[in-house]
Amino acid sequence: MKKIFSLGLFLVSLYVGAQQVSFEEYDLPNGLHVILHQDNTAPVVITSVAYHVGAKDEDPQRTGFAHFFEHLLFEGTQNIERGEWFKIVSANGGQNNATTNDDRTYYYEVFPSNNLELGLWMESERLLHPIINQIGVDTQNEVVKEERRLRVDNQPYGRILEAVKENIFKKHPYRWTTIGSMEHLDAATLDEFLAFNKKFYVPNNATLVVAGDIDIAKTKKMVEDYFGPIPRGAEISKDFAKEEPITSPIKAEFSDPNIQLPASVIAYRTPSFKTRDARVLDMISTYLSDGKSSVLYKKLVDEQKKALAVQAINLSQEDYSTYIVFGIPMGGTLLSDLVADIDVEITKLQTDLISERDFQKLQNKIENQFVNSNTSVSGIASNLANYHMLYGDTNLINTEIDIYRSITREEIREVAKKYLNPNQRLVLDYVPEKNN
């Protein structure tokens, strides 16, 4: 799907209006995929590189490794001394950060547009010859542990995802969390980090996005200059273990020292975000819990006061997704009662068609979300990278809405019937730790 910007596409963009995100994409000979998006309305430019490596690529004895490695790539390069990375960004009026998830790692800088070349230089330095040494490993080991404590171990309800994943996935590496285990990180050696870099941080595993106030021709030249000489790496083959279907209910309990009110978590294993069914499940989430008129909110929170909060989330990922319904009971409602009440609504979805008006409501919500999904160049850059790298079709940034628009009420019923059954799920009681 590496198509050059065509006249046909341009006509479509005129027709749809300003929402169309125009872009151009191509591969460098070393395999680096490049996506350019020009928008000169504000003097801002983003340079970002997505690497197709995440927590799922880790050794099961080294969970948290991919995210840890992301931290190491701020430590410096052959031409950027240790400690200089943040200084260079700030001194040029920019901002930068990186994120890691189970599927990919994403690095970016946002600069006023006169620093485009600087952004490209920094990202190419990071890819070509980062300095990965013991000082960096030792410091970032502590920093990453603090990140885990901050986000997970010291937060109420912070370990729900961990509890869900270890129960829903038995073989596939989604069974552990991105942040991983502190013990594993302590055991990680410098050699392992160097090997990880050599294997995954290669142009043929990366997508570069340049978006914002740019000149396409000049940008292409700079991309060629900075990224062209970077050598291609060995091909990466990914062969993750497939999960057996869940056929009987899973019950689990997890206790959290940071909570006083328990929570009920129901989780189903569902297919990749690339599938049509995953989009149907997105719509089901919206129907169940988005907005005050959504069925679960209205019934459980508003009318019956059985829940303080209830939320259906389609946590969709590249290989599988996890469909989670989460509720905090109110006024002594039993967790099992909450589950039974949620089940009533899911059963209705599986039996009856949702009303025409509710269906139209979903369409309107999707349209609003679509319009609001591409409001900043940094958001657009991240979407472009994801659609190319993880979905295999960059133009989904413009066309994914058509998939949603084509989903019917009947499909909603069928998908609910196909995936959201009691024998295919985990019911997790997430409870306060007793001795606390």
């Binding site: 209006g17 300003a18 929402q19 504000a42 003097p43 801002v44 031409n79 400690g83 943040f86 200084k87 700030s90 001194a91 040029n92 009026g93 901002q95 930068n96 006023p112 547009s113 006169n114 620093n115 485009l116 070349e117 600087l118 490209l120 230089w121 030792d138 410091t139 502590e142 920093v143 542990k145 603090e146 404590r149 901050l150 171990d153 010291n154 937060q155 109420p156 900075y226 020292p257 940071n258 009110l261 988005d290 907005g291 005050k292 008129s293 006061k305 303080l308 109110m330 006024g331 409501k361 309107n364 349209e367 609003n368 979300q369 319009v371 609001n372 591409n374 409001t375 900043s376 606390n436």
Partner: protein
Amino acid sequence: MKRIELKCITIVMAVFFSLTLFAQIDRSQQPKPGPAPKIQLGTPQEFQLNNGLKVLVVENHKLPRVNISLSLDNAPLLEGEKAGVVDIFAAMIGNGTTSIPKDKYNEEVDFLGASINFSGSGAFANSLSKYFPRILKLLADGLQNPLFTEEEFQKEKDKLIEGLKTDAKSVTAAARRVEAALAYGTSHPYGEFVTEASVNNISLADVQRYHQNFFVPENAYLIVVGDVTFSEVKALVEKEFISWTSAKAPNITYTSPSDAQYTQINFVDMPNAVQSEIAVQNLISLKLSDPDYFPLLIANNILGGGANARLFLNLREDKGFTYGAYSRVGNDKRYPVRFVASASVRNAVTDSAVTEFLKEIKKIRTESVTDEELSSAKAEYNGSFVMSLENPQTQARFALNIHTENLPANFYETYLQKINAVTKDDVLRVAKKYYKADNLRIVVTGKASEVLEGLQKLNLPIFYFDKYANKADNPLLKNEDLPTVAPEIVLENYLKAVGGRDKAAAVNSVYSLATMEGAAPFALKVTSKTMVPNKQVAEISADGMGTLQKLVFNGESGYQEAQGQKVSLEGEQLSEQKDERPIFPELYYVQEGYKLSVEGFENVSDQEAYKLKVISPAGKESFRYYAKDSGLLLQTEASMSAQGMTLTQTATYADYRDVSGIKVPFEVTQSVGPQKFTVKFTDIKINEGVSEADFQN
């Protein structure tokens, strides 16, 4: 020869070839920026309705959407014993109107794919531009004609109480609450917080009153940004908001909080903590319009503004203590704001992290920042200012600030000029002025059993609080560490300190004259006469206004007088008055059967004090704090009921002076709930100036 020549050429060519290949870029050199981009700073179009509502419109047709925000520039309000009114109000409003039932209203907003959210100080809505007229109408109707029913009120009240429980064990939630409460005091709008007890005091009428008084157009700004035209917005807003009744929100002022008297640690024990929350803070007065605003922005950027600032580079990148360490300064046109330097650090390095914070604060106050740091900080602001213009909301935000913060019209046009004009000396000057190294409050919320020992080694005074900012005992002090001293000894030490038991017992009457500050906008005069065991006359007057309040009690009966109205003392009030011993109550406790116990040590007025619990024969409980060193009485605490509420009444005693061989405090500060006033004595006489006749009813 030929061959050699050829070879030479080949070599030369190869050199040339490789040169041209790499001449394009030299990656060992950091690329230089191009010419700075030109920026376009638009201004919104504005109009105003007769009821006072000001409307700002930014047309931006890039996407078919519109954002509407309503911002009420009201003075902050202390909710006090009813903290939570605003939360319940915000949860209730925007759920139907007097003409549209709740379910219908909410369903329609959802159906349009839009959102409308209210807060205590405004509202925000987002919609596709094609539905703008309808969403604006629903917002306007929801705002002016909310549907407040008792049923919904109960529901939101229950939810609020239950919601408090989700955070009950959250270390970060406790830390943020206590940090604000200790900085401002819980009697200030910025320091108070919602509790289950305060929510239980709220009625539907409170919510309605809040709406009536505070959701008014006088200081309201409606901001519309997006794919709309000015004329369309003007016509629609005029139609939908014209009936919003003109009124101005109450403007109550509160005593400005003050800093800690000296740098100290305030410790909150959370046994479930795996990280300590550290906040090093002091109060600063800074308005957006102050000339110091820009230098302080730069100073703070260098100290703790981000990933390139000293705190981050030291505590994270060098030491690995934390995921992030930052500092911030706010600005506020009415009250002091906080300077806060903060981080979440693992238990084991809590004390070391505190040391590093103090080191960095000291450094920026005493040494000039480097040229590199200064120019980098300026570059960051230049960059983020330029980039913020990508968002059409920015224009609106700038215009709103110009209105509400009393700024010159060109404030943002000259913003970067002002940033770029800041010098190293400016930075040093404001760092010294606003980072108050001697008055820092270092609030640490963490696990005492793992972090306290280290903190104690820092040689800073430590005061203990619970997670609701109440004073607490040192959590590591076990029962055996409690003072073993008997209550009688504490009392005897006190009597010795004031001049001896005999001298105290010989006091028959006390006459005093004092001025009182803080209770009224003008100075009050207080005359008091007391006689053993319980006779009392007190009178509060003001120049030119005569007697304002009076209490007369002859030991058996009496009355209170206010504004010419006499009310006899009766019931509980009378019996309490009878039981009172205004002159040295310590002399009476044992013989009258009071229950006494020493509860522990506490820091009061910067001194270590015994906390004595006193329970009267009638069961009334109070606390008295006697200095461990001097023996003198430092503070008393008693609870009193007013309007069905229990309030703590605290009195602190200071400025002890000698009167006829007896030590008497010449300054007493009383506080009840949010009220605080200081009584300063100008004259005290012992055994003179008082006669039996003074107490006749």
